[in-house]
């Protein structure tokens, strides 16, 4: 069996420039072996030979919360694409881009791809790209919970319409986005003008750049009521994988809806780290890397949550310290732009 096909999710609030970004992407030659699933054919003429439309139909599993729901429409569309691919009706697929509607929560999409009995063996979620409008972004973050959720789930955030806002505004927005989601990579763009390679390159931020700490996150409280808060932690010793899994699965079981995002590199005492990536209840299959990319070989984990005090996470980890075999501490504060 060949390699799994990559799934990229593009989301963003209403009118934040998803379609513009997509239109620009489709013009480039790099999307040759890519299928695109869009939510609605807008007025903008999207032209691509593998363009499909999906209606957002959500199937809520019995007893599940909203993030653990299956997008039935998506399952059908993706299975059909796979069918065509296997039969050789279309060019071999390498990537599938899913554009969501502006109010969609990305979590059910990830849940669908990662748990469907067929899809999980053929597809892997590559990354979640979120567009944020430079002009109205702040307003959306204040008023719309969906917008905060989208930002928290992002691997990459594209700030669009940067030509229409002042430089100062853009910087303010960028630092606010980083406060909500310190693990995301931020790219600024005008008219969806973005290098395709940069867009689809993996985000390696958790390991390369220092993250903002709790201190930074709290400094925003005066200005906005914090819809989401983040904490980034480091551990002094290698973590015991099965103990950490025990703790995290317990935390996600009890507080999954409030934990918007978990992302990190974990030292489990092997040659390379384990990449951990989770949105709400859904944890991506952990990826094992062969080696560390730099000298700093400590485990780093970022938690993004709402209505939980970051201090609680830390004291819970301290209480479980005996089992985990490693002590957690907050990463030293780092200056943000």
């Amino acid at each position: 069996m060949g390699k799994k096909r990559k799934v990229t999710v593009i989301t963003g609030f209403l009118g934040s420039g998803k379609t513009t970004l997509l239109t620009h992407l489709l013009k480039g030659p790099s999307l040759k072996n890519t299928a695109v699933l869009v939510n609605e054919f807008g007025k903008v003429g999207l032209d691509h030979h593998l363009l499909r439309r999906i209606d957002e139909r959500t199937l809520l599993l019995g007893g599940g919360c909203l993030c653990c729901s299956v997008r039935e429409d998506l399952v059908n569309a993706l299975r059909e694409l796979l069918d065509n691919d296997h039969r050789g009706d279309i060019e071999p697929l390498e990537r599938i881009v899913i554009e969501t509607s502006g109010l969609a929560d990305p979590a059910p999409i990830l849940f669908t791809v990662l748990t469907d009995s067929v899809l999980q063996h053929h597809l892997t979620v590559d990354q979640v790209i979120v567009t944020v409008d430079a002009v109205n972004g702040q307003f959306h973050l204040d008023r719309q919970n969906e917008s905060v959720k989208q930002v928290a789930a992002a691997d990459k955030i594209i700030i669009t319409k940067t030509d229409m806002a002042s430089e100062n505004e853009v910087e303010l927005l960028a630092s606010r986005l980083l406060t909500i989601n310190p693990s995301a990579e931020i790219i600024k763009s005008i008219h969806g003008n973005i290098d395709n390679h940069q867009l689809f390159a993996p985000n390696e931020k958790v390991k390369s750049t220092p993250l903002i700490s709790l201190v930074e996150s709290n400094s925003f409280q005066g200005k906005h009521a914090p819809a989401a808060r983040s904490i980034s932690l480091t551990f002094d010793q290698p973590l015991d994988w099965s103990a950490f899994g025990l703790w995290l699965s317990m935390l996600l079981h009890a507080r999954g809806e409030e934990i918007l995002r978990v992302k990190g590199m974990i030292d489990v005492g092997e040659d390379g780290p384990v990449m951990l990536n989770g949105v709400q209840h859904i944890i991506h299959p952990p990826e094992h890397l062969d080696e560390w990319s730099d000298e700093d070989k400590r485990s780093h984990i970022v938690f993004i949550m709402r209505s939980i005090d970051p201090e609680q996470i830390l004291s819970s980890l301290h209480a479980f310290q005996n089992i985990l075999g490693s002590r957690a501490s907050i990463r030293e504060p780092v200056e943000v732009l």
Binding site: S242, G245, M250, P285, P286, H288, Q312, S316, H318, N322
Partner: protein, 126 residues
């Protein structure tokens, strides 16, 4: 699908994906990771019991593929993986569990650093 116990395993829980490339490769040599797998199961059971003992529950191995959760009244439940463990714990307890619960956190701390231990002694003396 497990051919021995006829149980169909549709989903490998993320906590069981420690071994590298388990999900990517379709080829598996028989018994290749068996020894370390059993060892890790026992470590996990011991760790789980540290937490579960606070609630008066006990986890044990069952046929090397599943777990059995028992409470002190002798009620038992079969547990497939960590994904359902906590749901079943709540079912047996009848109350929700939470790792951020200060009571639980206090119980897990080493005895010397526990809060409220001294108060207990004082009350007993009176």
């Amino acid at each position: 699908m497990c051919v021995l116990c006829n149980g169909s395993v549709l989903q490998v829980h993320w906590t069981d994906r420690k071994t590298k490339n388990l999900s990517q490769s379709t080829m598996q040599k028989a018994g290749e990771t068996q020894r370390s797998r059993m060892r890790e199961r026992h470590i996990r059971i011991r760790q789980s019991n540290k937490i579960l003992s606070v609630y008066g529950l006990k986890l044990s191995d069952w046929t090397g593929s599943k777990y059995i959760l028992t409470d002190k009244k002798g009620r038992t439940e079969i547990v497939q993986d960590l994904g359902v463990l906590w749901t079943i714990v709540e079912k047996l307890l009848g109350t929700p569990i939470d790792p951020l619960d200060p009571k639980l956190m206090n119980e897990l701390l080493p005895e010397s650093t526990r809060i409220g231990e001294e108060d207990k002694w004082e009350k007993n003396e009176k």
